[in-house]
Amino acid sequence: MANVTKRNEMPTLSPKVRAKCFEEVAKGYDEETAFNEASRCLSCPTAPCISGCPVNIDIRGFIKKMKEKDIEGAYEVISKSSSLPAICGRVCPQESQCESKCTLGYKFEPVAIGRIERFVADYHAANSKKEVTPVVKNGKKVAIIGSGPSGLTCAGDLAKKGYEVTVFEALHELGGVLLYGIPEFRLPKSVVKGETEKLRAMGVDFQTNVVIGKTLTIQELFEDGYKAVYVASGAGLPNFMGIPGEELRGVYSANEFLTRCNLMKAYREVNDTPIMKGGKVAVVGGGNVAMDAARTALRLGAEKVYIIYRRSMEELPARKEEVEHAIEEGIEFRFLNNPVEILGYSNLDNPRDPKNGTVKGMRVIKMELGEPDEKGRRRPIEIPNSEYEMDLDTVIMAIGTSPNPLIKSTTPGLEVSKRGGIVIDENGMSSIEGVFAGGDAVTGAATVISAMGAGKLAARGIDDYLSKKE
């Protein structure tokens, strides 16, 4: 019988083992545990969980199938709303979405919706023999820019409707941020590959090494016969703090650090891409990207990893499970701390000393929380005379990104907001007819699931637009 008050624990690799390897940390429920967890669901008539899901998966419906031990049935319910359940089950911040609305959660622990979703998706991937049934093509070409979560979702939805979809990817591999950003230990690359292969089987065409805005422009895509374009090019240039010392060798943006490790596999001996390993590492920021960078640094062999965050634990924007895992792995959080300067090694006696120009530490100031800002978050304020120095070898800046200028600068008439995000209407269409946009290219850095939601919206918008155009 299921325990009503407590959810089933997620089996994980022990912190000691996982801190030294890139194997996935959360091992996933087995069948029995998944059924047991599903049986905790009250199947309440209002199903508030569904409203907490950015792509409105029929959560009550798929859990009901699980209660009936019909795993493939559950998969079918999920895949009506989500093309990438194996990914969402792993990286969604469920505690602030579906699970935060769970009726059971008022008194007890909410149903572990994400963990059941992941089980269903993994079971399907491992056991389903059902071939993807090819759809009759409608002969209309749609171009999708970017193979991240938003682009893949939009591609899947449009391919199901019969559109001839081509996805253009600037990098040499597919997956966007799922590949270069999120580390192997949180989202195995084989899972991403499984999802893209599924789309390929559905007839989606993928073109790597094509930078839209450079190799081809949006105008040229229309000239090539594409009837609509979806811009899902993701977030762009990494932000830096603008403090002295950020140019020193050993200062990375989180994007660069993670890309070297995840996309270029710098952690493997056989790969040519270099990365700074070992020593003392500080990651500045408190989001998922900061957690990923810190835990990656640890696995690369750092002797000590700090997270420097200017607010307190309560304001941490990262997914709860990742913060817990990071703490278990021995990462030290310095809350209410903010860097003021990165200190460099400088041997004045020997200007040719090879260490000159490398990081040797960071000056940090302590903070306290003041009045709430416009978003309701309490504003951090510096405490005078509280500066101190830390010894460090590497500093990783994980403080967000600014929109990428490539597509905007080569697409006349494309309207962007003051912050540089592409402006869209309620159907996802930009200021140019037939050009839709979504994901981080519109909102700035956000979550995988919200990017997927935008991809779904744009797929509907493109379908409406092209159906009406007939």
Binding site: A170, L171, H172, Y180, T208, N209, V210, V211, K214, T215, L216, G234, G236, L237, P238, F240, G242, E246, E247, L248, R249, G250, Y252, S253, N255, E256, T259, R260, L263, M264, K265, R268, V270, N271, D272, T273, P274, P354, N356, G357, N404, P405, L406
Partner: protein, 285 residues
């Protein structure tokens, strides 16, 4: 996969490749670059476009063997394939309206300076080219420069060919003699671009330099290629991949750029030696 159509050895360590990449060839302009990955495990490296043949869909790259990746690239033959080849990236050189220009190339940087000189020549500008090398043995592209220049000066550090010394010596001489240029374009080692910029500044002639920092994606995502410009006393961070690769030579902080380029020096040396051994072993079999 991208096929190597033609391979020419320009000198002991510098090779020219014409690579089949029709989409890149269609758009590629002087000043822009590509990023390539030699094989499945390779790193991504940026190389400036040294020429295009739009009709045949070919892109020319010229590179010097300086590390493991360029050594692997140099081991490929005509008919072999490069795993990934993406571009054209960066902004093209803006050369419209220039009447008289000094194009200065240093070492393998001459490969990048050549298409700039060629485009200026095609636009009808008066082109004075100054190309510098360590010695006569590594001189490259002399005839090709001659074709597109109204005047060509070759310098070698040891005086084994042309004028003895570095490229700033004839440049300074010309400027002191009152010769005027609308712009000086310098492409080569950072130290050369730094001193050309300082010389040009003395005579108040605008100077543009082409930066070639460490890069991964080349599309404005990773931030590895950042450099600092000093604009009106303020230090501004720019990204060579999307804001460049060409910048105002007066503004670039060259010392910082030189330091940043040394980021992986130890790693590169080690990788270079390993690849040397590997290729040597491969050759014996």
């Amino acid at each position: 996969m991208y096929r190597i159509e033609k391979r020419d050895v320009l000198n002991e360590t510098v090779t020219s490749l014409w690579v089949e990449a029709p989409l890149v060839a269609r758009k590629g302009e002087a000043g822009q670059f590509i990023i390539l990955r030699v094989d499945e495990e390779g790193e991504r490296i940026p190389l400036t476009i040294a020429g295009t043949d739009r009709e045949k869909g070919l892109v020319r790259i010229i590179f010097q063997v300086v590390g493991a990746t360029t050594m692997k690239l140099n081991a490929l033959k005509e008919g072999d394939f490069i795993h990934d080849f993406v571009g054209p990236l960066g902004k093209p050189s803006d050369l419209e309206g220039l009447k008289k220009v000094a194009v200065i190339g240093g070492g393998v940087g001459c490969a990048i300076a050549l298409p700039v000189a060629k485009k200026l020549h095609d636009l009808g500008a008066n082109v004075v080219s100054i190309v510098g090398f360590r010695n006569k043995d590594i001189l490259i592209l002399e005839d090709e420069f001659k074709e597109v220049s109204d005047k060509l000066i070759v310098t070698t550090d040891d005086g084994s060919y042309g004028e003895k010394g570095n490229v700033t010596i004839p440049l300074r001489k010309m400027l002191e003699n009152g010769e005027k240029f609308d712009r000086i374009i310098a492409i080569g080692p950072l130290i050369m671009m730094k001193f050309v910029s300082l010389t040009a500044k003395e005579f108040n002639i605008p100077v543009v330099v082409s930066m070639n920092p460490i890069m991964i994606d080349g599309t404005g995502m990773c931030g590895g290629c950042r450099l600092t410009l000093c604009q009106d006393g303020r230090r501004v961070t720019k990204f060579a991949c999307v804001d460049g690769p060409e910048f105002d030579g007066y503004e670039v902080d060259f010392d910082e750029a030189m330091s940043r380029n040394r980021m992986y020096m130890d790693f590169e040396k080690h990788a270079y030696e390993e690849t040397c051994n590997l290729l040597r072993k491969g050759g014996e079999n």
